[in-house]
Symmetry: C2
Subunit: 440 residues, 2 copies
């Protein structure tokens, strides 16, 4: 984890936070790392703001889960209303889950007309790979070099971002993400050729090609939106080899990229399954696997899948409220508009800087590629930026092969004013990091 708190530096925290940290460590333990050199102790939120225990306000330019804003009242009321009525499972006939499924599926292109609800993107990805293995009769999976697809044992095996202590499954082939910074207009071709090599390698193995599982903005690889169509040729090659393309829309999905509801739509409609999770329901646990009836009902003929909380009325009520908010407030168009301001603003604010190599993004998902300087690696400067922003109460994080790319991914309700505030602080912090670098 790139942006990780080191418990050895707890001395910098308040007495109260140190006490809470000690209780946290005694119960949740080391498996629960915290963000930032000085963790943020959050107690309230509203819109794009988080408040800490001392009443300090933070501008949230990082979280995609509260896509429609922290503590969104419409989400809170919808869940409350549902919980005062009932909250049970899908083995009883219910209206809400069907109403939502219809609206949700209407945001997907044909033939993606069935949905299976889970509790997380992980559960959705796990099932998607299982269905792909069933359909193809093969097991080989292609992922990108820093891909992260979730928490289950199956997904840990296809998530190289976890690092070498969590080895990949033998049937996995890793390809370089389409690095538009490095390869420019050739990125699509270089990427497709990498995928072809992986296909050939799998076909020569006992595994064959079952699926390519891919985040359609390559979030953990370093955020590569690329030109429209960037991924299309690679997808065609996977499908030509009999494999299925699974678009992981946990990060780019739900309108974030500003042009469509789903990231894959920037490149092609021809995907076989689509998963999502984080941004669907304002923080209520949910995940989704969308696929054709042919795949879903075909799989159901010989296989059971029941998820107790999957499609529960409270999560569905929240998801419905989120969809209402996105539609009523025009948040997809808003993401494009404000995201463009944000990206161009960052570009302008970085123009004179030797520390910024590239600013890229689509909608409200922006990656800023940091460069090294004066004995500092790009990862170092990215870390300085992330923590410098945090110290000035602006929340972002970093991703990429070495953690060198700033990840700016605010709630979709981020406004032009929020953008101006972000840019002002960003400029100050960048100047500071340049000075620190020069002084070191």
């Amino acid at each position: 984890m790139i942006n990780k708190f080191d418990p050895a530096s707890a001395d910098a925290l308040s007495t109260a936070d140190r006490a809470l940290l000690a209780r946290r460590r005694a119960t949740l333990g080391d498996i629960y790392p915290l963000f930032y050199e000085r963790p943020v102790h959050v107690v309230r939120g509203s819109g794009v703001r988080l408040l800490d225990a001392d009443g300090v306000e933070y501008l949230d330019a990082y979280n995609n889960v509260p896509a429609v804003g922290h503590a969104n009242p419409r989400v809170a009321e919808a869940v409350h209303r549902q919980l005062t009525r009932m909250n049970t499972h899908t083995r009883y006939l219910q209206d809400g889950v069907v109403d939502y499924a219809e609206r949700f599926l209407a945001t997907y292109p044909a033939p993606l007309d069935h949905v299976i609800f889970t509790n997380s993107g992980s559960e959705a990805n796990d099932l998607a790979l299982t269905i792909a293995a069933w359909r193809t009769g093969r097991r080989g999976v292609i992922v990108t070099r820093m891909a992260y697809h979730g928490t289950t044992a199956l997904l840990a095996g296809v998530s190289p971002e976890n690092g070498p202590s969590m080895p990949l499954a033998p049937y996995v082939r890793v390809v370089d993400a389409p690095d538009t910074h490095l390869h420019g207009e050739h990125a699509a071709e270089v990427f497709a050729d990498g995928v072809s090599a992986a296909i050939a390698d799998l076909q020569a193995s006992e595994f064959g090609v079952s699926a390519m599982l891919i985040d359609t903005i390559l979030s953990t690889d370093g955020i590569y939106p690329g030109e429209r169509g960037l991924l299309a040729e690679a997808f065609r090659r996977v499908q030509a080899a009999g494999g299925l393309v699974i678009a992981d829309e946990v990060q780019p999905g739900m309108g974030r990229l500003g042009e469509h509801m789903w990231g894959f739509q920037r490149h092609t409609d021809a995907v076989d399954m689509v998963t999502s999770g984080k941004p669907l329901a304002g923080g209520m646990p949910i995940g989704s696997l969308v696929l054709s009836s042919d795949l879903s009902d075909g799989y159901a003929r010989d296989h059971r899948y029941f998820n107790t909380f999957g499609g529960n009325p409270a999560s569905i009520a929240a998801a419905t409220a989120v969809l209402d908010e996105i539609e009523d407030r025009g948040l997809v168009a808003g993401s494009l508009e404000v995201g463009t301001l944000l990206r161009e603003g960052i570009r302008a604010a970085s123009a004179g800087s030797a520390l910024v190599g590239d600013v890229r993004g689509s909608g409200l998902f922006v990656g800023v590629e940091m460069l090294g300087a004066d004995g500092q690696t790009p990862r170092d400067t990215a870390r300085l930026m992330v923590n410098g922003l945090r110290d000035r109460h602006v929340l972002i994080s970093a991703v990429g092969l070495t953690g060198q790319v700033l990840k700016v991914r605010p709630p979709l309700v981020f406004t032009a004013e929020d953008t101006a505030e972000f840019l002002s602080v960003y400029g100050d912090v960048l100047a500071d990091v340049e000075k620190e670098g020069a002084g070191s």
Copy 2:
């Protein structure tokens, strides 16, 4: 699935329900089966009651998720309050999740002092098996013959209840559940010997013994509470072979068995990991893996695990309210008291019947072993009972090797009056099924 609606018999439903069913099939598809020959279309709930779309009230003697009652106001208010404040993830420092972790862990015996929150029992079981494989360096897993442990690919491989079309993983060994009906006082010994054979078989294989994963009341195997200590010797043998014992408390846990908070405590405190999910948070998605700090922090040294929604404040607020309700209303003692009434009442009501072979249980978890008669299998009579009760607006289901065991597992707020109502209907339906049998 035993108690499954056949879409071919949709004609028996109302016009409105048939229309909803058609829309449901067009979006959710065949992977979403419904309970009962005539599905129940639920719209509201309160306490142990569910209301259908026509205003008909059902007595819920089946659902353990709403342990503190359907539409529990304390749960609804707690979630609402939290959602109006904020609902984010555990990479910020927060009070609620630590407060709850302390209270929750206080319900477990030493050295089980760390908890990892997930979104489901499935995610918890998946992680538990992964941690066991890491700790032991081995992969072999022992489960019972009709075990069901969850939805992920890893768990499908250790869940024989799914049937032969979902094959078990090669490293799995299946043992017969301790059938107290068949083996009486020898059940513990027969079970332990089965486990010893599985251990020997795994030790002779390339896999070795990593873990035994077991539901401590053997719910899907047919509900075998047994005498206190029933499982202890088998657990000792697993541990003597270097394997870990993982108690799956998704069904028996959270006070249901009426004597302790967790089912394993009826038999022994010596388990290595404990998972739960369903009953923890009144229907809000949550799962838990409880283990020693040695295991949890040891695993964390070389492995990442982050679950976006795991431990989210809204689910934690609900879980806290559920714990408050269980404590303040004395629901563990209540489960013992009402459960005893229920079990003895069913026994009395079944006394003259040739269709009932055994009535067993602990607290509010009762299994009724049906027998066959007049050309009907035990499964047939169980199905007649389940649907007969449903037609008289009492909800239960069936489990067991052939689906021959009625599963009566009401919310923990089930009262003596609810029990009397249940017994009255139970007696009528049993009499009807006997008549039908005699008449066929």
